[in-house]
């Protein structure tokens, strides 16, 4: 049952609810921060090279770092045999098993190599490498896989230009969800 009083109250409530849905009514408890203050965390790199830092490295420089900091897990010269995946392999994909994926036959973008080393490697000491060291290791892995010339220097300009063999071999599963 409805009395005039409760009808008024309901109308008032409806007004309040409608007001509550307006964009201004969120708590605003986030603290404004500028990009400079986020810079130390902002390690996002896009495949076009956006976000790549200054610095550079060569395969020769990378070889020495790899032997010291990476080969214990990834094997001598990245050829596997340790607890972590091989990084230098030349094989074709036959069938559907993911175990065949290699940097050379599957990874579509060279920037991903830099990104993953910088954010996650070495496994037990992530973020301990300088950007120059990450560029050098990236150059080393690319050169050992014969994806770049051993003399090429990797930096923010050259790395995004490395054309990975499998780049155009992907199908977006559900385009309407993007």
């Amino acid at each position: 049952m409805s009395t005039p009083r409760s009808t008024l109250a309901a109308a008032a409530l409806l007004l309040m609810t409608t007001a509550g849905l307006s964009k201004a009514e969120t708590p605003h408890l986030g603290k404004p921060i500028d990009e400079a203050a986020i810079a130390n965390w902002d390690i996002s790199i896009l495949p076009d090279g956006t976000g790549l830092p200054k610095g550079s490295g060569t395969s020769a420089q990378g070889a020495a770092i790899f032997a010291e900091k990476c080969s214990a897990c990834h094997g001598d010269n990245g050829k596997g045999g340790g607890p972590a995946a091989a990084l230098v392999e030349d094989r074709k994909i036959v069938g559907i098993s993911a175990s065949q994926k290699t940097i050379k036959n599957f990874w579509p973008y060279a920037t991903t190599i830099f990104d993953f080393i910088r954010r996650a490697m070495p496994f037990t000491a992530p973020r301990s490498l300088s950007d120059d060291e990450v560029y050098a290791l990236t150059a080393y892995i690319l050169a050992e896989n014969k994806l770049i010339d051993a003399k090429e220097t990797m930096n923010a300009e050259t790395l995004p230009k490395v054309k990975m063999p499998n780049r155009d071999n992907f199908i977006i599963r559900f385009p309407d969800r993007i």
């Binding site: 404004p32 896009l46 495949p47 994926k101 993007i178």
Partner: protein
């Protein structure tokens, strides 16, 4: 069990409305279930009271019990109800823990048994010091503490989370003799509570150029995934609570991205940063790990969706039925697209099907428990379930699935992820001995 009792029970069960081959009974029998099941029990087990032992007092009834704990844990007699782990010694690689579906009921995965995969161990995060920032293509970058987020309007939703690699052993060319935990243990379902991401993005503002956001965790590999802004504005949330309590450490404490219906790995745990960008970052996990090789040598990218799926949890591989009679076939169904519309069950390897009862409430993108009464006559049976979602998507048969996605040439390591996004029918073969094994049918 003497044969006259068997005959007697068989006769009594003939009254039950059979809906499909090999003894499947109309689900509506469950509505009057008290009567029917009581009748069956009365016929089978308690047919004679001649050998019944007199009831004695048990020791636990003759002494004062234990102290009430501050945080209770399951009975010591339930010690087998645990997750199975891939890396119990925390070696330098990833680590999975699988949910024991065959030992659970209902639709809520207890927090201690929710599956987890961690790629660099579980970080020990001080919630007072944890910070979460949203930046990039926004009008105003903002930093949030857990305390701040806890003051926002909270929203709860029940949703399943499934690893894109769940059920990967089903790509094997022959059925791997493993439990439902080993085959399907990388999916769980919980009630998550937190803040809608759209609320926070309303405060930062979004540059119209932003089409993607890169989410990043505070774990040692800074796990990073690209997510369309479309999903962020749809039903994404920053989850702070799991089944009413703060997130479990292995599930992302103190906060995680929750993308209902999307591949587990995208639901970034220990969330510390979201950067809005124009294009996907092509992180290792999206451009390599969670891209699936197809039979023609191409690969899927940005699969995202965990498609409609179901599996029977009871009975399932490794169990043994204790003689012919009435059983309830039960399992879970779910779809990343929405609600489960119906689940059909077969006891004869897919020759005939009966519609299962769905336990209410049936929620969008959540586990739905299905139940099917079944009279096992003691002969060979092959149990299957098949789910439909409200969008009309149907769980494929194994043959339909393999025709599109292929299968391996030999059985993979049981802990491996040879391919992903497997959602076809699981079959359990029941032998005359009552033994239940994984089969392909």
């Amino acid at each position: 069990m003497d044969k006259s009792a068997d005959r007697n029970r068989g006769k009594r069960n003939q009254d039950l409305p059979i809906v499909a081959g090999n003894g499947l009974i109309d689900r509506r029998a469950l509505l009057g279930r008290g009567v029917i099941l009581a009748g069956a029990v009365g016929t089978g087990i308690a047919s004679s009271s001649a050998g019944a032992e007199p009831l004695a007092e048990d020791p636990w009834s003759l002494e004062v019990g234990e102290v009430t704990p501050t945080y209770q844990t399951p009975s010591k007699f339930e010690a087998k109800v645990v997750r199975t782990r891939s890396n119990p010694n925390n070696e330098p690689r990833n680590s999975h823990a699988r949910t024991p579906h065959h030992l659970l009921e209902g639709t809520t995965t207890p927090n201690g048994l929710h599956f987890t995969i961690n790629h660099g161990g579980i970080p020990v995060i001080d919630p007072d010091k944890h910070r979460f920032v949203i930046h990039g293509l926004v009008k105003q970058p903002l930093e949030f503490s857990l305390e701040a987020l806890s003051r926002y309007p909270q929203t709860s939703r029940v949703t399943f989370l499934e690893c894109g690699g769940n059920s990967a052993p089903m790509f094997s060319p022959e059925p791997m003799q493993e439990t439902v935990q080993a085959l399907h243990g990388l999916v769980s379902c919980a009630e998550w509570t937190g803040v809608k991401l759209s609320t926070l993005l309303e405060e930062t503002g979004i540059d119209p150029q932003a089409k993607w956001m890169v989410a990043e965790g505070a774990d040692s590999p800074r796990l990073s995934r690209s997510v369309p802004v479309k999903k962020a504005l749809d039903d994404a949330m920053i989850a702070l609570y799991q089944n009413g309590e703060r997130l479990m450490p292995g599930n992302g404490y103190p906060m995680r991205l929750l993308l209902p219906g999307y591949e587990g790995n995208m639901n970034v745990k220990f969330l510390r940063r979201i950067k809005l960008v124009e294009q996907p970052a092509m992180s290792m996990y999206e451009s390599r790990t969670y891209s699936q090789i197809l039979p023609d040598g191409k690969a899927y990218r940005f699969y995202f969706l965990q498609e409609v799926k179901s599996f029977i949890t009871n009975p399932s591989h490794g169990m043994a039925l204790r003689g012919p009679g009435l059983y309830e076939i039960s399992g879970v169904a779910y779809s990343g697209t929405g609600r489960i519309e119906k689940v059909m069950v077969s006891a004869d390897g897919g020759k005939s099907w009966g519609q299962a009862a769905l336990q209410e409430p049936v929620l969008s993108k959540a586990f739905t428990r299905f139940r099917m009464p079944w009279r096992w006559d003691g002969g060979p049976a092959t149990l299957q379930s098949r789910a439909w979602d409200e969008a009309g998507n149907v769980q494929p048969t194994r043959a339909e699935f393999v025709a599109v996605r292929g299968e391996l040439t030999k059985p993979p390591p049981i802990l491996g992820f040879p391919n992903q996004h497997y959602n076809s029918i699981t079959s359990w073969g029941v032998a005359a001995s009552g033994e239940v094994k994984h089969v392909y049918a």
